[in-house]
Symmetry: C2
Subunit: 139 residues, 2 copies
DNA sequence: ACAATCCCGACGAAATCACTCGGGATTGAG
DNA sequence: CTCAATCCCGAGTGATTTCGTCGGGATTGT
């Protein structure tokens, strides 16, 4: 979630906050964030005043990881999946010449997903503020 | 459909033949091929001995055209569609920074789809035979 | 005339998506 | 210690899409 990127470094953010900001139902976010946690992208702290945090800097989190965590292996068609585990040899595979097309499409998708990080999606405002603070405090 | 590419130049192919070759229900193919016809990619001849033919050489038919005909505008998410007609300004668009990601993904997809033609998907066997015949007959 | 073929609209089953519900487990604050 | 805030988690729902069926009509070569 982009919101977590925005909030990176400000301590755990509760689902209630995020739900308010994103205007999404809290219960739904729970499911999404659980996948992200299972994938090791976010960490949770329980109890009052708890919430979720990124486990790494936004710049190091590829969007491919996020998408894989949220939607499973990247595959435009199930006969052209990312993940050898879930490879499905479609019954027509022998004659099916279309597969190469899907594989190329998939590679194009994963390529651009790999080339973007969470940081690319957080609105630059807050980052600029961070920089400013650094500039003001340091000297 | 790739089968039509394979059969290009051999006169109209009936749905019954294609259905047999592809092992797909004929009634279903009807729907698909109707979209292709509406898009001008195939032409039909009715009556006994009729069927469908490509309207152009396989080499000149981009897979992007085929996919658009079959599945509508290319869009990984509806807020990042190909076709300005069906553009949907999602209600969160103001704050939604994710859109650029989808646009890039979409461009990657259309790019590879644009770069492949039907000819790239027809198995080379028959083409090779054609070449062979040409080579044998000519001298 | 008749059989092969396309034309076409309506229907249906299954999967997926976006989301809800309800109740537990953990933990900081008072 | 108690309590409220918070995460944890499985089960359920409604809309939409996808893949496919059905039935009957319109054309046309033989």
């Amino acid at each position: 979630m982009v919101q977590l990127g925005v909030r990176y470094g400000t301590g755990p953010a509760s689902l209630a906050e995020i739900a308010a900001d994103e205007d999404l139902p809290r219960a739904y976010l729970e499911q999404l964030v659980m996948s992200l946690r299972d994938a090791g992208l976010v960490a949770s702290t329980r109890g009052a005043h708890g919430g979720y945090e990124l486990t790494r800097q936004p710049e190091t989190i590829r969007m491919s990881e996020v998408l894989r965590a949220l939607e499973g292996p990247i595959a435009p068609m199930l006969c052209a999946t990312d993940d050898p585990e879930h490879a499905v040899t479609c019954d027509r595979s022998a004659r099916c010449t279309v597969n190469v097309l899907w594989v190329r499409v998939r590679d194009a998708i994963t390529g651009t997903l790999e080339s973007m990080t969470l940081a690319d999606l957080v609105p630059p405002r807050l980052v600029a503020v961070d920089d400013l603070q650094g500039a003001l405090i340091a000297p």
